[in-house]
């Protein structure tokens, strides 16, 4: 499911790069797990590892006990942050099966200076 979303971003990576937008995927997965995923799926975007939910907590995205073995994980969410570090767009999906679409994000990205 998350792969479906990441694949959509990856398929539009040239447009994101052309717009000066750097997509960054964050999860509780270890660097090794993310590396394997990126290699298998051919992802070139940046993957960051947050096994102790430090950033996930700071963004209030902890989905308590939802991971394997009752571990805390991140709920799906996307943030577009401009070069000054200000949030310009947020998507907190209300349904796990519904995700932001790349076209939608690129549309907002066009407004960034």
């Amino acid at each position: 499911m998350c792969n479906s979303e990441l694949r959509g971003i990856e398929q539009n990576i040239q447009q994101f790069n052309a717009q000066g937008i750097r997509p960054v995927a964050i999860s509780v997965d270890s660097p090794e797990t993310s590396r394997n995923l990126a290699q298998q799926a051919g992802y070139t975007i940046t993957f960051l590892s947050d096994p102790n939910t430090e950033a996930i907590r700071r963004y209030d995205l902890v989905h308590a006990g939802a991971g394997e073995g009752g571990h805390d994980i991140a709920r799906p969410a996307e943030f577009l942050i401009d070069s000054t570090g200000t949030v310009r767009w947020v998507n907190l999906t209300e349904n796990y099966w519904v995700r932001a679409r790349p076209e939608q994000i690129l549309e907002v990205a066009r407004l960034l200076k």
């Binding site: 792969n3 997965d29 963004y59 799906p76």
Partner: protein, 154 residues
């Protein structure tokens, strides 16, 4: 009389086709439709296929109950119940369980400063949000960063 028997013993194809279609439709979401935003964000393709399956099951049940063989009635009842359970499970997983997400009311909002963080990338190197916002993309200063939080592969 002999014609009646042959009708009764005829293979109840709508029943089994409907049964097969419910299972295929269930798995098709995860194998196929989830990969396309248009069929992922609302499962209309699956709902359509489930509707076809339900009609087939209904026709199958009618056929079974039109015959005078007790066994075909029992089989039809069991098969249809299983099909309905599969459809109900899909609807439950999509429309009910899918919404079991934390509200995240404390998440940074538009106009707010994005919380800083430093995390390891796939090579184990520590990377901060500030670095992500300043490291050039194809030789140009980035206009922004898109953070995609996801549940993980585990």
């Amino acid at each position: 009389m002999s014609e009646n028997v042959s009708t009764a013993r005829r293979f109840n194809w709508p029943l089994w086709a409907g049964f097969l279609l419910t299972f295929l439709t269930f798995f098709s979401y995860f194998a196929v439709f989830v990969w396309y935003p248009v069929t992922r964000d609302f499962p209309w393709a699956n709902l359509l296929l489930f509707a076809v399956a339900a009609v087939l099951l209904f026709v199958g049940v009618r056929r079974a109950f039109a015959s005078d063989r007790r066994r075909s009635k029992i089989v039809a009842a069991i098969v249809t119940t299983l099909g309905v359970v599969v459809i109900a499970f899909f609807l439950f997983a999509y429309f009910v369980v899918g919404r079991w997400l934390p509200a995240s009311t404390g998440a940074p909002q538009v106009g707010q400063k994005a919380p800083e963080f430093t995390l390891a990338d796939t090579s184990g190197k520590q990377v901060s949000l500030n670095e992500l916002l300043t490291t050039p993309i194809n030789g140009n200063a980035p206009k922004g960063v898109l953070l995609i939080f996801y549940r993980g592969y585990w």
